[in-house]
Subunit: 172 residues, 4 copies
Amino acid sequence: MSSRPGAKSLPILAVLGAGDASDKEILVAEQVGATAARAGWVVLTGGGPGVMEAACRGAVEAGGLTIGILPNAKAGDGYPNPWVMIPVFTGAGSARNAFNVLSANLCVAVGGGTGTLSEIALALKNGTPVWCWASWSLTPPRGRETPTPRVFEEADDLIEALDAALNHQQAI
Amino acid sequence: MSSRPGAKSLPILAVLGAGDASDKEILVAEQVGATAARAGWVVLTGGGPGVMEAACRGAVEAGGLTIGILPNAKAGDGYPNPWVMIPVFTGAGSARNAFNVLSANLCVAVGGGTGTLSEIALALKNGTPVWCWASWSLTPPRGRETPTPRVFEEADDLIEALDAALNHQQAI
Amino acid sequence: MSSRPGAKSLPILAVLGAGDASDKEILVAEQVGATAARAGWVVLTGGGPGVMEAACRGAVEAGGLTIGILPNAKAGDGYPNPWVMIPVFTGAGSARNAFNVLSANLCVAVGGGTGTLSEIALALKNGTPVWCWASWSLTPPRGRETPTPRVFEEADDLIEALDAALNHQQAI
Amino acid sequence: MSSRPGAKSLPILAVLGAGDASDKEILVAEQVGATAARAGWVVLTGGGPGVMEAACRGAVEAGGLTIGILPNAKAGDGYPNPWVMIPVFTGAGSARNAFNVLSANLCVAVGGGTGTLSEIALALKNGTPVWCWASWSLTPPRGRETPTPRVFEEADDLIEALDAALNHQQAI
């Protein structure tokens, strides 16, 4: 009997990446989504095509729950992708990039364009851990201390570390 | 076999109301949340106390899923309430009121202060249907045609109509 | 000689109203903008057509400064109107309604549709004074105390009171 | 005589940088603000301390106009700084970073932390030109084409190029 009643808040993995993605990025994003779903994590993305869609598809096919934080106010242009189960329409454009990362317990960037770069930056600013594979390489201004993403050279290492962390065998 | 693969997008009921609510409002909000949950709808709120919390609690206790679109960037001041299963932090303050109503298939306002009034207005602007009980009474400027909420005088009628509509026995 | 150096922060009047407006609304909005400009106030609007455009035109022709907080990310659909001197693009859709009223020292609503109603509500929530002419008539839920707008029946009374208040002959 | 009446829309320079800044960054930001003001450009910043404040001060002392797009809903924590003439309160937190860059004709980043990085990214995404001095060094993922900032090694070169561009002697 808990002393504080309430529901179990679900842990959230945000998958960041571009709407136009390479075959390899799609494959990795799908594995990231599936790994999260199997660990009982909700997969949150910007709700669009490419990496976002692949992560959602991987999660749904593994029995998970997906949420998309959409830049648009009504469905269109591939937002939401068909694998988003809970579409959150914001109509806020790129401002919604800030919301994606605030809500996540962990962000994983798979490749990515300038939108993904903004999300990596906002996640670091917020103190949300960010894991990157095949994504941006960043060097802060000389003399400035900033948090940095954890960079994976190999996709297999990313998936393995993710599996270990989400199943609590290892700290994030 | 569907020609277009994808996940089932979940229908969303937004429950609008104040953080400080009367006993009767709490009771009605709880019933609204439970009714939605039993029909398989996700319950979305602003994620705070009062009516928002009651709707979430009703939904969770009926086995449903709850999502909170939070004005803050980090947990605090009763946001999220303990019955929010998926907390979406926006850090966007009152601007998040716009997101609450864009994402809903139907909005139900239970009482409400000025924040709720803004959500009713934004829902009407967006074309999202709004049902009201014990909420604001609105008269548009003379000569202006606007959509209007559906007003219920009795809470029982609201719950009955909601039950019928969410279970597809009646159009929204 | 001030002990704290800095610039003079300019007082801001937000003019709220619909993109489609009657001839009388246009005329009144223009007078509101001109009155503000002559008192040295910046005129802030949502940057679109109708009442917003009329208020900006009145201000510019009276030698004032106008700023538009735009829902779009790039110019289009009458946003910004030609009388906006400083266009602030947000791409945030209706969420920008919250920003309009947070930045104003006083809001004046001239007529208005559902978007205007949301701004009136958000201004009241924020504690920003709201003056209304020919706008929404609002009755809060029974038993709820909320701030209310100051309602003017006659346009001439609005302009006269505005002139007195902005020139510090009378409190807002 | 123009066939389309209206006001002159003012060109906007956004200055991006950290709230905690080095002496050299402060000096350069001040020069950037002054250069913009002398060319008749509005200086837009996030409205806070450090680089943002220095750019505003430089602009005001050169007779210019400054606008601050603030993350907060009410004044506090150094937002707005004393040199902001038009404070636009958003209450939108880091989401306001998106608005800063959408509204600018040119962005200049002076040093910068993770917030600045997000603004550089969002500016590039939007197609707004970005000039950087002593700021982030960015390498996109292998195989991805993205717009890039124009990087200045020396502050004097930045100021000289800015002066030439804003006075239309050279394209941005």
